[in-house]
């Protein structure tokens, strides 16, 4: 009886678990070179299409953690200071100069932004950028809690994303819009 009960309970979350745990490896992206994609950030390709509040890797632990690795390897912290902000804007707060929607962040990374954010569309593949999107969003608690990364094997310079309280996705002005008061 308890077996059945347990099974039933978990069966409900089964789909979630599958998605969360899926190891989505770097597929060769079905649509040509990154450059074309980044020009239309809202159609980054069939497998990765997203126009919603959910990035393709937001609920995928492995993808988010790959994003975590990239964030470090691409030295994003050089400007964003481990998300705390420095030369570049902080990523752990809820201030989003160019919007917090996945596709907006994708555009920010792929195209680059004023005041020194370089364009990564020639350096990273779509999937890598989407993984970064998931990680950046996890930093400020915009992604589901369960797949968010815990601590890294490094010096503890910032609270781990799995500790950040959940936040409402904000959509403060698209490119060009002024910052929130």
């Amino acid at each position: 009886m308890r077996r059945i009960l347990c099974a039933a309970i978990v069966a409900c979350s089964l789909a979630v678990a599958c998605e969360r745990e899926e190891r989505r490896l770097n597929q060769s992206s079905p649509n040509g070179p990154a450059v074309f994609v980044a020009q239309v950030p809202l159609q980054p390709g069939p497998t990765l299409v997203t126009d919603t509040a959910e990035g393709p890797f937001d609920d995928n632990a492995y993808g988010t953690s790959e994003g975590q690795q990239l964030f470090e390897q691409m030295n994003c912290s050089g400007c964003h200071g481990n998300g705390g902000g420095a030369m570049g804007p902080a990523l752990m707060d809820d201030e989003w100069t160019y919007g917090s929607l996945p596709n907006q962040i994708f555009a920010s990374i792929a195209e680059g932004r004023a005041n020194g954010m370089p364009s990564w569309k020639y350096k990273l593949t779509n999937q890598q950028i989407w993984e970064l999107v998931a990680y950046v969003r996890s930093l400020s608690g915009l992604t589901p809690k369960s797949p968010r990364p815990a601590r890294e094997d490094h010096m503890m310079v910032k609270p781990a994303p799995n500790q950040t309280p959940n936040a409402k996705p904000k959509n403060t002005g698209l490119p060009g819009a002024s910052q929130r008061p």
């Binding site: 601590r151 503890m156 609270p159 781990a160 500790q163």
Partner: protein, 202 residues
């Protein structure tokens, strides 16, 4: 099937025994050994981690503060007195005395849990800052679980004694409850010396 030849009669044997004659005493002892051993392993790990640091506590980490923990040590030692009286009364099957002193014991043990909350923060560092913090928090945290368990046990026992007449064998269980409390206190004194006083010495 073999025929059975009566060669002795157990009818005259007692049905309620105390101390090492009772099963519960052995069971309690078993779990005391398991929990003590777990704590020992944690302490060994604590010192293993300590090897990775020049200074203990690590740089930019304050010493654990001693006020609250010291108070709690005193409270715990004091709370052993009613525990002792209760177990003696239980051995005399003196129900009124047991009830009376169980109330006292309950009032003595509850503060230890309350104090424990500040005791955790008296470590003066978070568990997720350094391995030192993790080790200290794990040790104190694990002891907290034992402490809460025994406090709940004591309160429940007291409650039962007042709700309805208890079977005679629960006098024996009451004695074992006191024994377990002595263990919890002894364990805490060791931890107090290692986790709170230790860093100032080693």
């Amino acid at each position: 099937m073999r025929r059975l030849r009566p060669a002795g009669d157990a009818g005259e044997l007692p049905t309620v025994t105390f101390g090492s004659k009772s099963l519960m005493w052995w069971g309690t002892l078993g779990f005391i050994v398991i929990e003590g051993w777990t704590m020992a392993l944690l302490v060994v790990s604590y010192f293993y981690i300590r090897q990775n640091y020049e200074t203990w506590p690590p740089l930019r980490t304050p010493y654990p503060s001693l006020v609250i923990p010291s108070i709690n040590v005193v409270v715990m030692l004091v709370s052993c007195v009613p525990a002792y009286i209760v177990s003696n009364a239980a051995k005399r099957l003196d129900e009124p005395a047991v009830k009376r002193w169980l109330v006292v014991q309950s009032m003595a043990v509850v503060p230890t849990v309350v104090l424990r909350w500040w005791e955790l923060w008296a470590i003066n560092t978070r568990w997720d800052t350094t391995a030192y913090g993790s080790a200290a928090w794990t040790i104190v945290g694990f002891h907290t679980s034992l402490l809460v368990l025994d406090v709940v046990d004591t309160l429940g026992l007291t409650l039962f004694y007042f709700i309805r007449p208890m079977p005679v064998r629960s006098f024996s269980d009451t004695v074992d409850n006191s024994n377990y409390w002595y263990f919890t206190v002894a364990l805490w004194i060791a931890i107090y010396l290692i986790v709170y006083v230790g860093p100032r010495i080693i």
